[in-house]
């Protein structure tokens, strides 16, 4: 087992419930956009890779007859299954790794993956697996945190993310995403960027940071160059961090 696999299973195994209740994951313009894209494709079978709290799988259960939700972490899958059942919806749940998906070639009309690839040690490998399990002409709907074009701002936010969640690897820029997709044989058909406000207290407690860790992270943010904070619209009040804003990249790419 790779160190990253174990880290992800430990990190998300212990915070599964917090991802089910996370407002940033449960809803938003980003999820609405993915669902609108998905609905227009009229899929029969949908796979949600790295389903996490299960919100994307739940939303797509209203779009497709068969939704399969896949994740590396079993407690996360049980939490996601609880959410889907509580809402009276249906989906199948499978423990699987994005780079070795346990599904037949061409099994799905649509594959979704929302706010997860920044945890993947091998994004290119995961995208190749997504292409394999899509039918020809099928669509990959992917959303992730957008990497910043400014190197200093990108390094700053990556450090913030890693201090908060050691399984964070990094966010990729749009040009990098397009290269991953193109290399795998997927053609970008649609893309958009939406913003997501991150309330600081909810964001830092969801990953079970210690009080010391949170204090150190606040100090790191407050000591950072103003231009780095401004790049992510950090808001401060009374010497404390209140929130910041992520930009999310949403892409639809079709299998050639």
């Amino acid at each position: 087992m790779s160190d990253q696999t174990r880290r992800v299973q430990e990190q998300f195994g212990g915070s599964a419930a917090a991802y089910v209740t996370s407002p940033g994951h449960a809803a938003g313009e980003d999820l609405d956009t993915l669902v609108a894209w998905g609905r227009a494709l009229r899929p029969r079978r949908v796979l949600d890779v790295a389903t996490g709290g299960g919100h994307t799988a739940l939303a797509f259960s209203g779009v497709a007859r068969h939704v399969t939700a896949c994740d590396l972490t079993e407690p996360m899958l049980r939490a996601a299954r609880g959410l889907v059942r509580d809402r009276g919806a249906a989906a199948a749940f499978v423990a699987g790794d994005a780079v070795t998906l346990p599904f037949r070639d061409g099994a799905f009309d649509v594959v979704t993956c929302r706010i997860a690839p920044h945890h993947f040690p091998d994004v290119a490998g995961a995208v190749r697996e997504v292409r394999r399990v899509l039918r020809p002409g099928g669509s990959f709907l992917v959303q992730d945190i957008l990497g910043h074009d400014d190197a200093e701002a990108a390094a700053f936010i990556t450090e913030v993310e890693r201090r908060r969640d050691p399984t964070h690897i990094r966010a990729y820029r749009a040009v990098e995403w397009k290269a991953f997709l193109r290399a795998a044989g997927l053609t970008v058909m649609d893309s958009t960027v939406v913003t997501k406000l991150r309330p600081w207290d909810e964001w830092t407690t969801r990953t079970r940071m210690t009080p010391d860790g949170r204090r150190d992270l606040d100090a790191f943010v407050l000591a950072a160059p103003e231009k780095c904070r401004a790049a992510f619209d950090f808001t401060l009040a009374g010497g404390r961090v209140e929130s910041f804003t992520d930009r999310m990249l949403l892409l639809r790419a079709d299998r050639d």
Partner: protein, 56 residues
């Protein structure tokens, strides 16, 4: 219980070959691996599979 719709699309994550479904595990005869079913969830992770041999 794994429904037929899911059985139709599940393959071995290692070799992508066909699987044999049992009540508590899922077997890839080609790789000689048994993937556990825990709490109703097929655990199709290569490093979670147990060695399997015919007749065992």
């Amino acid at each position: 219980m794994i429904d037929d719709e899911l059985k139709a699309i599940l393959v071995c994550p290692a070799c992508k070959g066909d699987l044999q479904f049992e009540d508590t595990r899922i077997i890839c005869r080609a790789c000689r691996k048994a993937y556990p079913i825990r709490d109703g969830i097929p655990v199709m992770l290569i490093n979670e599979a147990q060695p399997w041999s015919p007749g065992a």
